[in-house]
């Protein structure tokens, strides 16, 4: 049942090259290229700031709203883009799947990892914004990579599962944008996680993004970690990973025949 890790390791260079290709093509095909990676978080942050700190006010403590929004958008935009790209990755790589053998899981993984490049730009903007607002990081900052890694695992697991489902059920492509929209609203992207009533917080944390975003914010802004919430979300990620591997394994063998 387990993914053949040794084989995956043997094919690591292909993973590298496919990631490299996805990154390269993304920036080559678009007119403004790299600017997309910057525009997306900046514009979204600006809109959220305008909407939710001017009209509908959310309590964000000492953290300026743009920083509050951007910290979550980094996580959200990466997840959104990576899941979207990964879920369509087999369909857009039909010729690879039907003509060459390699561990299939490389295709959605490469698409997910390629999204990390956008993330780097967002992080640079975040650092700039933190300097601008004079936020002094605390020791909490050391845990920030943990939440990025959790995001990566979550996106990879979801992307992999959806990519497999998308081969057989093309509905995925149409349902995904809608589901993602709902997911964003259900995640504490433009509002604080503390907005939910205390007794519901652990239920809320089944949504893995709740723990990730809340934890990421705590690491950046030095607020106390809500470990139970982070714990539930992490557990949720583990479940999603297992589910993803099961689904992928079951469908993998038929890819070349039904794609």
């Amino acid at each position: 049942m387990a993914v053949n890790l040794r084989e995956l390791w043997a094919y690591r260079e292909l993973l590298y090259f496919l990631t490299w290709r996805d990154v390269k093509i993304r920036y080559k095909q678009t007119v403004v290229g790299v600017a997309w990676a910057i525009l997306q978080p900046v514009v979204t942050t600006a809109i959220f700031t305008l909407l939710f700190s001017t009209w509908a006010r959310f309590e964000t403590g000492d953290v300026p709203y743009p920083l509050f929004a951007l910290s979550a958008l980094i996580v959200w935009l990466f997840t959104h883009n990576a899941v979207t790209l990964a879920s369509g990755s087999f369909v857009s790589n039909v010729n690879l799947v039907t003509k060459v053998y390699f561990p299939r899981i490389i295709v959605p993984l490469a698409a997910t990892i390629a999204g990390l490049f956008d993330l780097i730009f967002s992080v640079i903007i975040l650092i700039g914004l933190m300097l601008y607002y004079g936020i002094i990081p605390t020791a909490n900052l050391l845990t920030a990579p943990l939440f990025i890694v959790l995001t990566l695992i979550l996106a990879a697991a979801l992307g992999t599962m959806l990519s497999a489902l998308n081969v057989k059920f093309r509905d995925v492509k149409f349902a995904l944008p809608f589901v993602l929209q709902v997911w964003m609203i259900a995640s504490p992207v433009f509002y604080p996680a503390s907005l939910t009533p205390a007794k519901w917080q652990l239920v809320f944390a089944i949504n893995p993004l709740v723990g990730i975003i809340d934890g990421f914010r705590s690491s950046l802004f030095g607020t106390p970690f809500n470990w139970p919430v982070i714990g539930v979300s992490s557990l949720s990620i583990v479940v999603i990973c297992i589910l993803s591997i099961v689904v992928f394994k079951r469908m993998e063998d038929d890819f070349a025949d039904i794609i």
């Binding site: 093509i25 080559k28 010729n95 039907t98 093309r170």
Partner: protein, 414 residues
């Protein structure tokens, strides 16, 4: 040492009904009435195939479209799983089911070499080491940094094949990839594949080009309707395959009422044979081929000259031969059955299919008693053992005839 062991390989595909392409189909299929799977909709692309390939062997796979060749290659390359049975391959497998798999139009030639190499299973260091060789082989040095979308199709194919040709797996699986590209480059590729085979690697090669198959492979498997129809020495299997493919065979008989003919004579049979007199459908290029024509004369009194017309597969008439010299040139025939025989010398016909037309003619005054344009056919094969007109050259060799001629070379000075 066996490189490939295939045991009872079976691959079935379902047509319609079973594969759900949308969630709705699945849901309605789940709740709706579910009958048994219609067995008529099951296609057996491979039906219980077993064979082994030894290390260093070059195996050709032939068969008509839909015979299961591509499915077999896909199963051996692990692209798709067999429905039952197993295929064990020892060593690193490189499969070329398509030229330029994973090439991306937006990327430059250089970038595509690395990407395609990785997709075909080459290590980064290996690509790096062979990079210059690949570029030189492809003849596209000047356009290395141009996106391949600006390449001509010829350049694109050359680059793609160059990467593939430098793949050095222990087992190489090649589909009909040589059908593309210009003739000169095809030659180069065939040569490269021969090299691979000679280096002791195992090669599996699918092609419709029977000449390429006989030139490259020592052994051929002929697939028919998903089963192995024939497995053996390349020339024999190809010969039998071609024999079955053509509607005309190398030996035919005609019944009295259906025979070509007139009130003076009719054709009874035509046959191609070797020196021992056995009927053959494939002739060794080095050996004489006999063509025998049998006919019946109903009314005596006329001089009748049998004649045979030899055509190649492009429809070009290679030559015509008349029986002028066997003593019947001016001797009227009496009623009865006759058998005439002509020998085409070895090292004369070129490789390929030969169609023979048979006729019986009276020339003074002219009267054609019968003519059957495609009476029989046979194939001429060159095994390239070095003593034919080819010598050691394995590439494309044009020409209608292929004589071994006497050469002399003098040293005029040093």
């Amino acid at each position: 040492m066996q490189a490939i062991t295939a045991k009872n390989l079976t691959k079935t595909y379902m047509l319609g009904g079973v594969a759900h392409n949308s969630l709705r189909d699945l849901i309605t299929g789940f709740f709706g009435p579910r009958g048994p799977v219609d067995p008529m909709k099951e296609i057996r692309a491979l039906d219980d195939i077993s064979f082994t390939v030894n290390e260093g062997e070059t195996l050709g796979i032939i068969g008509r479209n839909g015979a299961g060749k591509s499915t077999l290659l896909k199963v051996l390359s692990r692209i798709t799983k067999p429905s039952s049975g197993s295929a064990i391959i020892r060593g690193r497998v490189g499969s070329l089911l398509e030229v330029g798999t994973g090439f991306h139009n937006e990327l430059s030639g250089r970038e595509n070499i690395y990407l395609n190499g990785a997709i075909l299973g080459m290590k980064h260091a290996e690509i790096e080491r062979k990079f210059d060789e690949i570029v030189a082989f492809s003849e596209i040095e000047r356009f290395l940094d141009t996106p391949v979308k600006h390449y001509s199709s010829g350049m694109y194919m050359r680059l793609a094949f160059s990467v593939a040709a430098h793949l050095e797996p222990e087992v190489l699986i090649v589909d009909e990839v040589l059908a593309v590209g210009d003739v000169g480059f095809q030659k180069k590729c065939l040569g490269k594949m021969r090299e691979v085979g000679e280096k002791g690697r195992t090669v599996i090669f699918v092609s419709h080009d029977m000449n390429a198959i006989t030139r490259l492979c020592n052994r051929v498997i002929w697939l028919k309707d998903g089963r192995i129809r024939c497995d053996g020495e390349a020339r024999t299997v190809v010969g039998e395959y071609l024999h079955e493919q053509s509607s005309v065979s190398s030996a035919r008989r005609w019944d009295t009422d259906a025979a070509p003919g007139n009130e003076f004579a009719r054709l009874c049979g035509v046959r191609v044979c070797d020196e021992s007199g056995a009927t053959i459908s494939t002739a060794d290029i080095r050996l004489p081929v006999g063509v025998e024509i049998e006919y019946e004369v109903f009314r005596g009194g006329k001089v009748m000259i049998p004649n045979l017309h030899f055509f190649n597969e492009t429809g070009t008439c290679i030559f015509v031969t008349h029986d002028w010299y066997s003593g019947w040139r001016d001797k009227p025939r009496s009623a009865g059955r006759y058998k005439s025989m002509v020998w085409v010398p070895g090292n004369f016909l070129a490789e390929g299919s030969v169609y023979v037309g048979a006729a019986l003619t009276t020339y003074m005054p002219f009267m054609l008693h019968f003519v059957e344009w495609e009476a029989v056919t046979f194939n001429v094969m060159d095994t390239i053992e070095g003593d034919s007109a080819r010598g050691d050259y394995a590439g494309e060799l044009p020409g209608v005839v292929r004589p071994v001629l006497e050469w002399s070379t003098d040293v005029l000075g040093k």
